[in-house]
Amino acid sequence: MNRRLMLLVVASLLTGLSISPIRGLTQDAKTGVLRLRVRVKIGEATKGFARKRFFLLPGTLEQNRSLLEGTQQRPIVTRDCYYTKLGASKALIDWLKQGDCESVYCREISNEDVDGPSSVPEFVNALNAGEKEYGSRETARKWLTTNVPENLRDGFYKSRQVELQGIIKQVETNSGSKVISVMTDRNGTAYFTDLVPGNYVVSTLLPAQIESTSVVWNCEVQVKAGDLATEKPYLLSNRKDRNVKCMAVEKPLPACEK
């Protein structure tokens, strides 16, 4: 066997990796999978908590306690408060709220949003500027976000990202391991794959918003080698139920600062 191949095999054995060319499709027997299902109850209806990012922190809840407590002490700035403070129109705030959006990128801006009684003034201004710039109303509509002022466009999303990246960096420095994250699908399902067996904390890190409350999940899970998560998923919710493995800490949203 040539020397390089020998080294590769030894390295693979040491790191517990398979040298299969189709790794990723083949779940390694030495790693595990965690299947999340996040369901939230709003009024009488229950639905999947869709399009939310969940983070997997290495270690137990106890090992991450001080950091998680620190994140919960942070003041919460809600989307509505952020945009109200910027002087955004009610129409824009409502438009964002309807799609549970953190930025204007999250929904397609339709003709109704720029023309007619439900138009959003910020979008109309951007459309007019774009039409002058690009020489076409259709291109201006498709490229509308390029003419929305930065803070209104995605300032809220970016401010949350700055906070998140700070927390992630802190966790990674403390644990020496990478923090991975996945986003839930429309049913609130998400998978963490290729996990080294051990204890982890599933967390939203920053509070998410459900109607008029903020919710945070910090759940300790144990990943076992060879577990493909084909059995029942790990269920997170904001309501108690016999299948729910981890409940959210729910708080009323703070009032906006004047």
Binding site: I22, G24, L25, T26, Q27, D28, A29, R37, R39, E44, A45, T46, K47, G48, A50, R51, R53, Q98, G99, D100, C101, E102, S103, Y105, C106, R107, E108, Y134, G135, S136, E138, T139, K142, W143, T145, T146, E150, R153, D154, Y157, I180, S181, V182, M183, D185, R186, N187, T189, A190, Y191, F192, T193, G226, L228, A229, T230, K232, P233, D241, N243
Partner: protein
């Protein structure tokens, strides 16, 4: 007679001087006027890998090209840089002869009276840059509103494909499909042809963005990386490469529009591509689908046993080729451990089957 050889030699020497002496001097002058003879540089080929070609992109490419409206409906880089971008260093190559090879980089004909250029980018040329695209960041911001029909009255554990379809129409998902829509052209056969003669149809694969409009609609200006910041998305590839005709797929027989009459394969992309939302870069991206995404329908008691059935066939015949999902290049290999786990049995290698 004794002197004769000397006389002859002298005569030859004088003749030689008179014949070749002067031209030799002229020859030396000509040599000094010419550029020094260098290694065989093919000036008809342009490479961004050349050190001198790695200045800021906008030192040559203007964003957008002045008359972009003639070619496109949106502002873009639609043409090659002007002559000035090349002449500043390559004056000598420009005026070298009546048909300077350097012109062939952009022009279809080398002639002072013909300025027709290849389309930009030249589709016949190899790609020199790779694209960096963080899927995770984009999924965060393009996440879309959920239709009200997904609201349910109570907890239920059902597959995504059965949700959101109140009537029999296949549900429409608009998240990844902003960039990845139904492919309209037939996939290109790989070198050597399709394995087993199995030709996937257009609905086997999704398309991927191939032009700037998919990016510039948000990144034209102010949202980094902006159009002027080419390096924000493009990095020089280690060597030029050709675009792949078809993506590589382990289960070539999977069809994105398949899944029986109900088209159960038409689902939200992340239902099966479970690792996409954690991918931070396009490079090294594997849109891998674990077997568990398939077995919910394809290997369930009371439904179908497509995986277990083929594993049993291997038990009976170690050379059996799995054909339900795979072409023979994959189907003749040892099934991975995950397939055996799904079938609730220990993994076994073909060579160990007696």
């Amino acid at each position: 007679m004794k002197c004769r050889p000397f006389t002859v030699a002298l005569l030859i020497g004088v003749t030689a001087l008179s014949l070749f002496g002067q031209p030799t001097v002229i020859g030396q002058r000509r040599q000094s006027a010419r550029p020094p003879v260098r290694s065989e540089v093919d000036y008809s080929k342009f490479s961004h890998a050349t050190k001198k070609h790695q200045a800021a992109c906008n030192s040559c490419h203007k964003v957008p090209t002045e008359d972009w409206q003639k070619v496109k409906t949106y502002p873009d880089i639609t043409d090659y840089p002007d002559h000035a971008a090349c002449v500043s260093c390559h004056r000598a190559q420009f005026f070298r002869s009546a048909r300077p090879p350097i012109c062939a980089v952009c022009h279809t004909k080398i002639s002072p009276r013909d300025d027709v250029r290849f389309p930009f980018r030249n589709p016949a040329g190899q790609l020199q840059f790779s694209t960096v695209f963080p899927h995770d960041k984009h999924q965060d911001v393009i996440a879309r509103r959920q239709p009200q029909s997904t609201l349910e009255a109570g907890f239920a554990f059902r597959r995504a494909v059965f949700l959101g379809s109140i009537d029999d129409k296949p549900p429409v998902y608009n998240n990844c499909s902003i960039c990845h829509s139904q492919q309209v052209t037939a996939p290109t056969a790989p070198t050597g042809g399709w394995i087993d003669g199995f030709v996937p149809d257009t609905s086997s694969f999704k398309s991927a963005p191939s032009a700037h409009d998919s990016c510039f609609n948000c990144h034209w200006k102010s949202q980094q990386p902006v159009a002027m910041n080419c390096a924000g998305c493009h990095t020089l590839a280690p060597k030029p490469y050709s675009a792949k005709g078809s993506p590589l797929r382990i289960s070539l027989k999977f069809n994105h529009e398949g899944g029986g009459q109900k088209k159960n394969h038409v689902a939200e992309c992340t239902t099966c591509h479970i690792n996409i939302t954690k991918a931070a870069s396009l490079r090294g991206l594997k849109p891998d689908v674990p077997i568990t995404s398939c077995t919910e329908c394809h290997n369930k008691e009371g439904l179908r046993q497509d995986v277990s059935r083929e594993l049993l066939a291997i038990d009976k015949n170690a050379t059996f080729v799995c054909v339900y999902c795979h072409t023979s290049n994959v189907g003749k290999q040892d099934p991975p451990a995950s397939h055996y786990l799904i079938a609730e049995r220990p993994p076994i290698k073909r060579k160990d089957i007696k």
